[in-house]
């Protein structure tokens, strides 16, 4: 096909571009979103179904969540939620037309990284 011979821009995550906070946070926002779509949201749905089904089902899910894999899934979910939340707030700020200078974008990026780690620690520390 003739279109395949057109020049293409190098792939963003290959060896041609240096990793930068802008591109890394962009892809992480997607990855955390996809993780929540595939793992966290179905887990919340299972929790609601188990609760509506009866005590036996609910206790079975609770026991699984208290185990090693369950705790890992909860930690990954809380971090994904915190990160996607902070990334989403950044997007909403940009949509309002604010903080669009490259120095401000880098600054808000580091704020988002720190804030999402702090929120994860606070929520996990609060008992989840």
């Amino acid at each position: 096909m003739s279109t395949s011979k057109r020049p293409m821009s190098p792939y963003m995550l290959g060896p041609y571009y240096k990793f930068q906070i802008t591109s890394v946070l962009s892809i992480l926002n997607r990855l955390t979103g996809v993780f929540m779509a595939v793992v966290t949201a179905p887990l919340l749905l299972c929790w609601l179904i188990a609760l509506a089904s009866g005590e036996q089902e609910f206790m079975a899910l609770s026991a699984w969540l208290a185990g090693g894999l369950g705790k890992l899934v909860i930690l990954a979910s809380v971090f994904s939620f915190s990160f996607h939340l902070c990334g989403g707030i950044r997007h909403l700020i940009w949509d309002a037309g604010w903080m669009l200078e490259i120095s401000q974008v880098r600054f808000s990026g580091w704020i988002a990284v720190v804030a999402s780690i702090v929120l994860t620690v606070v929520v996990m520390g609060a008992g989840l």
């Binding site: 996809v34 779509a37 949201a41 749905l45 179904i49 609910f58 939340l85 909403l92 929520v123 989840l128």
Partner: protein
Amino acid sequence: MNMQNPLARVRGKGSSGGGVHHWRSQRYSALILLVLTVWVLWLGVSLAGADYATAISTMSSPVHAGLAILFAGAVFYHTWLGLQVVIEDYVHIAALEFALLMLVRFACLLAFLISAIAALKLVLGA
């Protein structure tokens, strides 16, 4: 102002003009989720490791049932829109792309319906 050649428009070329709706829907659902974050974090922390009776008594409140249904609606709508963009960006086999888009749409709708029915069952005590 329309910058498009009228002939191009007749031939159906160029943007469909539907992008703003998708973009705006994603932001509106994000704003709803941003507000509900306070509620869902409180719920998660207060019900972490809770026994069946405590969880039932919390979720049988009409306020929590309503918030849960609204949250489920916003979550699965936002999930649908987000996964749609990811699939459109990375899946380049037309048939597979179409199948995945339909699957995501169906799964998100079904997940919302099941959430809403479960929340209603808890509040109505059926």
